[in-house]
């Protein structure tokens, strides 16, 4: 294997080396939550190994972006990895050891610093040769300008310019005509994958996979309902599973469904026994934007210092509908709807601001929310422009809200201490969590 390929796998190999001892320790001492905490990481490690094998043995594989339906990739039996995975997996484990160094190198690329850091970082990974070059790429142009702009730049890189690319075009509307158009895009995506990997789609297998992921989504909805309980059964780590379900390389596998059953069962048990994972809950908050990569420095502080639990967040609140698998058309329409409307961040950022109003209203009412935090990621220009409507919605509902303004990928933008100060001042000013003193 040449040096370029070797380097492209280096971060994946590092992550495997970083995660495997953690997984080992969780296997040895799983406790009540061990399996639930380690499952997604196990899946990630397994997928990394699969991609490494493809690169080393010259097998076909894809790079993709979330919301390109994993059910199809699974049914076509094509290995893939998500190009934004590095940023998120680093965040999920408390930060990559390379984060600061990567951000510094990223700054030197010369992309205007007001562009989304998360996506500038992805371009840096590409320039640094840290992304395995796939047989073909499934790109994305939603939900924001940065995703689309970044991808145009991404496909202009000399090493990637000749990689065949397909990007589905998401319409802005949310009616049947839009779903059918997007279903057409998904069908064209399948033709593209077949053309470049030689793998075909077996409709029977796709139906089987979607029926299995449907079970996962049904359980996810059940779990979201369970988080309405006061006190809420789990800390914040569990809601992120929603994102995982949309991205899992194990889509369609009963072990994934079992994972969701286990989450639901554990939540039910904790509610029944009044044994929440976070004791002494005093504030129920809605975190309405994407979670920062350094969330592990904030969530424990929120929970321990203020008894503040994130009862629901933007990313997790995705009103997934189950896909009707009765006919080929209904199945494709369902997948289109899921990809176009329901994905985390897609649901909130892609369409009209009505989605934001609807979500905040429902969540505040259904989850007995005491306050709403609008983190205001610097890359989310649409959220910045809809924050006033979000605040107005909160006012109408009688819940206080706080807009922070941060960079979810770079804590130098607004430091963790500054964020904590802002939140503390807000809680104090609003008289929230007072019984702690």
């Amino acid at each position: 294997m040449d040096a370029k390929k070797e380097r492209s796998l280096s971060r994946m190999k590092e992550e495997i080396a970083q995660f495997e001892p953690v997984l080992e320790s969780l296997r040895e001492n799983p406790g009540e939550m061990g399996h639930l905490q380690s499952f997604a990481v196990e899946d990630l490690v397994g997928n990394h190994k699969r991609i490494i094998e493809c690169v080393e043995q010259g097998k076909a594989f894809l790079a993709s972006q979330y919301t390109n339906p994993v059910e199809i990739l699974t049914a076509m039996d094509v290995p893939w990895y998500f190009t934004v995975q590095q940023q998120f997996s680093a965040g999920g484990t408390g930060g990559s050891p390379h984060t600061i160094e990567d951000l510094g190198e990223m700054d030197r690329l010369g992309i205007p610093s007001d562009c989304c850091t998360l996506l500038r970082l992805l371009l840096y990974y590409q320039v640094a040769g840290l992304l395995p070059i796939p047989t073909a790429y499934l790109a994305l142009t939603e939900p924001c300008d940065a995703v689309s702009g970044m991808h145009a730049a991404f496909m202009n890189h000399p090493d990637w310019r000749d990689v065949p690319v397909f990007v589905p075009d998401p319409p802005y509307h949310d009616d049947v005509r839009a779903f059918d158009y997007y279903a057409g895009e998904i069908r064209r995506m399948i033709d593209f994958i077949t053309r470049h990997t030689g793998k075909g789609l077996n409709m029977g297998r796709l139906k089987e996979v979607v029926e299995e992921t449907n079970k996962g989504y049904a359980l996810w909805l059940e779990y979201s309902d369970l988080r309405r309980a006061v006190p809420t059964p789990h800390s914040y780590a569990m809601p992120m599973s929603c994102f995982y379900l949309l991205n899992t390389a194990g889509a369609g596998e009963p072990r994934v469904t079992q994972y969701y059953k286990d989450i639901v069962a554990n939540a039910e048990l904790r509610i029944r026994e009044n044994r929440p994972e976070v004791p002494n809950q005093r504030i129920r908050l809605l975190w309405y934007d994407i979670q920062p990569m350094f969330f592990s420095e904030l969530v424990p502080w929120l929970e321990q210092e203020w008894g503040a639990v994130i009862a629901m967040d933007m990313v997790s609140y995705c009103p997934y509908e189950l896909t009707d698998t009765s006919t080929e058309d209904s199945l494709f329409r369902g997948l289109a709807k899921r990809a176009l409307l329901h994905g985390p961040m897609i649901h909130q950022a892609h369409g009209l601001v009505d989605n934001v109003v609807h979500d905040i209203t429902r969540i505040v009412r259904d989850y007995e929310i005491d306050c709403v935090i609008l983190p205001g990621h610097m890359g989310h220009k649409d959220m910045a422009a809809s924050a006033s409507i979000a605040r107005e919605t909160c006012r109408d509902l009688g819940v206080p809200s706080l807009y922070i303004g941060m960079d979810i990928a770079d804590k130098r933008y607004t430091t963790v201490d500054e964020i904590k100060n802002r939140i503390s001042q807000f809680f104090t000013a609003m008289g929230l969590g007072e019984d702690r003193r």
Binding site: G110, L123, S148, G149, D169, Y172, H173, L352, M378
Partner: protein
């Protein structure tokens, strides 16, 4: 070159004077006259709007700008500090009532800022007819078909709301009318290829901007007069470098004048209010004018950075312009917080370096500001081009 974009026009060309006046204001005398005579005006925000549909309805197409805006004191309550200054200024003017003259407004999901402006507009501004259109990011046949269906729906809604008929033959007439505008403007660009271009970049921008704010028949008549005038005008030879201006939204000729006052003459552009709107024609020989419009606006016209699939075509377009107009250096202007053009800038910087094309990247606010800094940077850039 010093002396303002209108000084000469005031004394020599009534047409140029009218264009400059139309570019400087929102409600210019022609719009006012149109309204006074009972005409309807339909606004739009993006160069991808098929203005032919508005013309075919018998209305005046008017591209929304924020000329003359002095602040965002009202719209700051709606937009964040990391939002583009163009929608903030435009919405500020709308909140102050400057856009009350619009009978309709068509907005696209052009960018994150503008699509949210739609959300605010429908909540706060009482424009009688407002429609959002879904504009594709690719230029393949499926996208042309999608956009055609969007236009068909727009036609239906406009017909219902305004009680007019937008028949195919009216559309064909409108296409021919606007193509004529494009052809005459291309003729003006053609004159700029000479060693002594008879029209400055600031003047040309005033012309193209004015074309989005006056009746197309009148615009064509004035264009004819201007063409006659400039073809006899002594061209500019007192410049030190031939410049091309590229980027997105730029509707302020004064901005171009600041650049030209530093010794560089802007001889061509690839801008949303500039050549991209006029470099090609809509197909007039077609059975279905809606398909012709969809094909033109999605696939055929020079695209902006929003179109994901067209980077190579955009760059070819710029490189051809550089060659044809004998350009010495390129200035790329970007509105701060625009991610669409931000990532494009990254690609352009890398590619232009490879091709040895001098490039100056400038971030700016919608209204003319930081002029001193702009002057210094352009001066330094022009100096580097002299050798």
């Amino acid at each position: 070159m010093e002396g303002g974009i209108v000084s000469e026009a005031k004394t020599e060309s009534k047409a140029l004077q009218e264009f400059v006046r139309a570019a400087e204001t929102i409600v210019n005398p022609e719009v006012k006259k149109w309204k006074d005579e009972g005409g309807k005006v339909v606004g739009y925000f993006c160069a991808a709007m098929p203005v032919e549909m508005i013309t075919a309805a018998g209305f005046l197409p008017f591209r929304v700008r924020a000329a003359g805006s002095t602040g965002t004191e009202l719209s700051d309550a709606y937009f964040g500090s990391i939002n583009c200054s163009f929608p903030r200024h435009a919405f500020n003017m709308a909140l102050k009532g400057h856009y009350d003259f619009l009978d309709g407004l068509v907005i696209f999901n052009s960018c994150d800022h503008i699509r949210r402006l739609y959300d605010h507009w429908i909540r706060r501004i009482k424009t009688p007819f407002v429609k959002i259109i879904s504009l594709p990011r690719k230029d393949e046949p499926a996208q042309v078909e999608w956009f055609r269906s969007e236009l068909a729906i727009l036609r239906e809604r406009m017909q219902e709301h305004f009680e007019v008929e937008i028949a195919d033959d009216r559309l064909r007439e409108a296409i021919a009318l606007h193509n004529r505008s494009r052809r005459i403007q291309r003729g003006l660009y053609e004159l700029r290829k000479s060693d002594k271009p008879p029209i400055t970049g600031a003047e040309m921008l005033a012309v193209t901007v004015a074309g989005t704010a006056m009746p197309p028949e009148l615009f064509n008549r004035l264009l004819g007069e201007l063409q006659h005038y400039v073809s006899r005008r002594r061209g500019h030879s007192d410049y030190r470098a031939r410049l091309m201006l590229i980027g997105g939204e730029l509707d302020n000729p004064e901005y171009v004048k600041v650049i030209e006052d530093q010794g560089g003459l802007v001889v061509t552009d690839a801008l949303c209010f500039g050549s991209r709107t006029l470099w090609k024609d809509v197909n007039e020989n077609t059975d279905d004018p809606l398909t012709a419009l969809a094909q033109y606006y999605v696939a055929d016209r020079p695209s902006c950075a929003r179109m994901y699939t067209k980077y190579e075509k955009r760059v070819d377009y710029i490189r051809n312009m550089i060659k044809d107009f004998n350009v010495d250096g390129v200035i790329f202007e970007r509105l701060t917080f625009c991610e669409t053009w931000g990532f494009e800038q990254y690609s352009l910087v890398n590619d232009f370096k490879k091709w040895n094309i001098p490039l100056l990247c400038v971030d700016r606010e919608y209204t003319l500001s930081a002029v001193g800094q702009l002057r210094t940077r352009v001066q330094a850039f022009v100096e580097t081009l002299k050798g």
